[in-house]
């Protein structure tokens, strides 16, 4: 028999704290949660609320002074043709970028989740994350050069005799333009490039949680690969696709740099907010514009939920 005591002696402050938290489990929760809740509540939700409040003020057209009275006048301004144009353009671009990202990200995420092991997994993570390590501005300016009329894409298209195709694409009204770097298509390409990692990672995480036996069960019961994809893989990956699309959608809606550098100089919501609160000094309208993406995201998530996108959560 060992003569060790049945109860071990307390060894200072760490043991005393352990005992305290063991006796009062909620205390630990409170200690852990108070700082982030304060941050969320005051800094995060507080500023959001301030933003909302601003959007219900209006600006005096002559003096340019903000009138701190409740009104819906500013929101009514959003429905002017030129502002609706901005909202619609942003919405279409965000949707296109999200769909583009989802289509490109899926095979990559699927490969990483199902087949990549060990070294290849590391290569995958590195490949996805590496672009995030360099400055966003550098990447966008690099793309401007790549897409320019004198850029490598035009040069390569000439080289392989595909300049006809490139010109035909650029001639399509609505997405084409003088060159790729001054066309909506160019803006789209750069948006897809910069937000792609935000789509790949949640998709990969969702696909990783689908056990192989589930795909086998589907094939076992007679499903073709396409049926398995539609009825098992896609629904189970949906929460990841939605998480990724929240990133790509909202990041595109809020961005004000890419549309300035690449594309026609047509305005997007981000750019409008930037100009309204800066040069124009119209904080209420800027705030109202800023509310638009929030509302669109809420509508989007409600529809996604209705459609059962979160059933597999």
């Amino acid at each position: 028999m060992s003569d060790a005591p049945a109860i071990l002696p307390e060894r200072g402050i760490a043991d005393r704290l352990t005992a305290l938290f063991w006796r009062h489990p909620r205390l630990l929760l409170a200690v852990l949660l108070t700082p982030p809740l304060l941050w969320l509540g005051v800094v995060y939700l507080g500023s959001l609320f301030a933003l909302l409040l601003q959007s219900f003020y209006s600006i005096d057209e002559f003096s340019g002074v903000v009138k701190e009275e409740f009104t819906l006048k500013t929101y009514a301004e959003l429905f002017r043709a030129q502002n609706m144009d901005i909202i619609l353009r942003t919405l279409l671009m965000s949707a296109a970028v999200t769909i583009g990202c989802a289509i490109i990200a899926f095979p990559i995420a699927y490969f990483a989740a199902r087949f990549a092991r060990g070294k290849w997994k590391a290569v995958f993570y590195l490949g996805v994350m590496l672009p995030l390590w360099s400055s966003y501005l550098v990447k966008v300016y690099a793309w401007k050069l790549i897409l320019a009329k004198e850029g490598i894409i035009t040069w390569a298209a000439d080289g392989v005799g595909l300049s006809m195709v490139l010109n035909a694409i650029l001639a399509i009204p609505g997405i084409g333009g003088n060159s790729l770097s001054t066309s909506p298509l160019g803006t789209f390409i750069v948006f897809v490039y910069v937000w792609l990692p935000y789509m790949i990672l949640p998709m990969q995480a969702a696909l990783e949680r689908v056990p192989t036996s589930m795909l086998e069960a589907s094939a076992d019961l007679g499903a073709s690969k396409a049926q398995t994809f539609r009825t098992v893989i896609l629904p189970l990956a949906m929460p990841g696709v939605i998480a990724g699309s929240i990133f790509t959608f909202s990041l595109t809606m809020g961005d004000y740099i890419i549309p300035q550098i690449v594309g026609t100089s047509a305005r997007f919501i981000g750019l409008a907010v930037y100009q309204l609160q800066g040069t124009a000094g119209n904080i209420p309208l800027a705030a109202a514009f800023a509310v638009v993406p929030i509302v669109i995201m809420l509508i989007y998530l409600t529809i996604a939920k209705r459609k059962g996108a979160f059933d597999a959560l």
Partner: protein, 334 residues
């Protein structure tokens, strides 16, 4: 009558050809139509790989597999009329129980009304009426197992494969499910191929069974044959934890100088004086329905199973052993 499943010299090797891992190595096997066939073996013995070869999730690296006489080398899983109850059940979490069970019909393009009716029939077959609207996450382990069974049976497969389906259930439920599976198989007449590492399960349910060891079949036969007449030391030891006696010990027990096996329940304890077989009791394990006595003699530990109610010897005392000579099974193979 054609065999439901036939393996001809089937191998499945993994890894580089220079140093292959022989998961399945030259297996010959015939499973009769309508039988309940068990594949028994320790983990890594190749039994699950054999099952996956039948379902098509593994391709053989050598040999031929036939299902009802047809070579299935080029047939993908979805075209084999063979369904599987997976070890982890693999129920689709985003579908309710009814849609899970009806899945096999849905991918065949059968209309919703028909497949819902069929799903309900299958659910009542596994005694889960009224559970159609639940999600798999709302079911207990035993219920999920039944759903997996119903889902696999809805396509009326020619062969039903069961990959350790009872492994995750507790003892009581496992025994009840054993009876039910057996009854279901008899009623439906479908060929069942059942993979298990539990020899009791295999013996009690199967019409015939194959004992796997290191990618090969050690013995094929009816449960009674395999239990009473194990062909190798491995089978004797794995099926029913027999006493495996070396040629010398077999001789001392009155047999020829060959390896043999002797069931613990065939041994009886006698007073030690004047008996040829006497040894020292080393340990006693209480099993409820009886006790397992280990006796050391001729340098070998021999186990005897005594029914409950008999007086037990003290560890360290010397006891004699007797048995019916017919119970000593001499093995030709080593």
């Amino acid at each position: 009558m054609t065999a439901a499943v036939e393996f001809q010299n089937v191998s499945r090797h993994f890894g580089p050809p220079s140093a292959p891992v022989r998961a399945v190595d030259g297996v010959d096997l015939t499973i009769a139509e309508g039988s309940f066939f068990a594949m028994l073996g320790p983990s890594g013995s190749g039994k699950t790989t054999c099952l996956r070869l039948i379902s098509g999730f593994e391709k053989p690296t050598g040999g031929t597999i036939r299902i009802f006489g047809q070579d299935v080398s080029d047939i993908p899983p979805n075209r084999r009329n063979v369904n599987t109850v997976f070890q982890d059940y693999a129920l689709f979490p985003h579908m309710n129980v009814r849609d899970n069970v009806g899945y096999g019909l849905m991918v065949k393009g059968i209309d919703r009304r028909t497949r819902e009716r069929r799903a309900e029939e299958m659910l009542s077959l596994v005694k889960l009426e009224g559970y159609g609207d639940r999600k798999p996450a709302q079911l207990s382990g035993g219920q999920r197992q039944r759903v997996a069974l119903a889902r696999a049976l809805v396509n009326e497969p020619k062969v039903l494969l069961l990959d350790e389906p009872l492994g995750a259930l507790d003892l009581k439920l496992r025994e009840a499910m054993q009876d039910e599976l057996k009854a279901l198989q008899t009623r439906l007449g479908i060929t069942f191929v059942f993979v298990t590492h539990d020899q009791g399960e295999a013996l009690s349910m199967a019409d015939s069974l194959a004992v796997f060891n290191e990618g090969k079949i050690a013995q094929i036969g009816t449960p009674a044959e395999v239990y009473a007449r194990p062909s190798t030391r491995f089978v004797a030891d794995f099926v029913g934890s027999s006493n495996v006696l070396s040629p010398e010990v077999t001789r001392a027990f009155g047999g020829p100088q060959k390896w043999s096996s002797l069931r613990p329940e065939a041994l009886r304890l006698t007073p030690a004086d004047g008996v040829a077989l006497a040894g020292t009791v080393t340990s006693i394990r209480y099993l409820g329905a009886g006790s397992r006595i280990s006796v050391m003699l001729h340098g070998t530990e021999v186990a005897a199973l005594l029914p409950a109610g008999q007086p037990l010897p003290e560890p360290g005392t010397t006891v004699g052993l007797s048995f019916d000579p017919a119970a000593l099974h001499v093995m030709d193979q080593v």
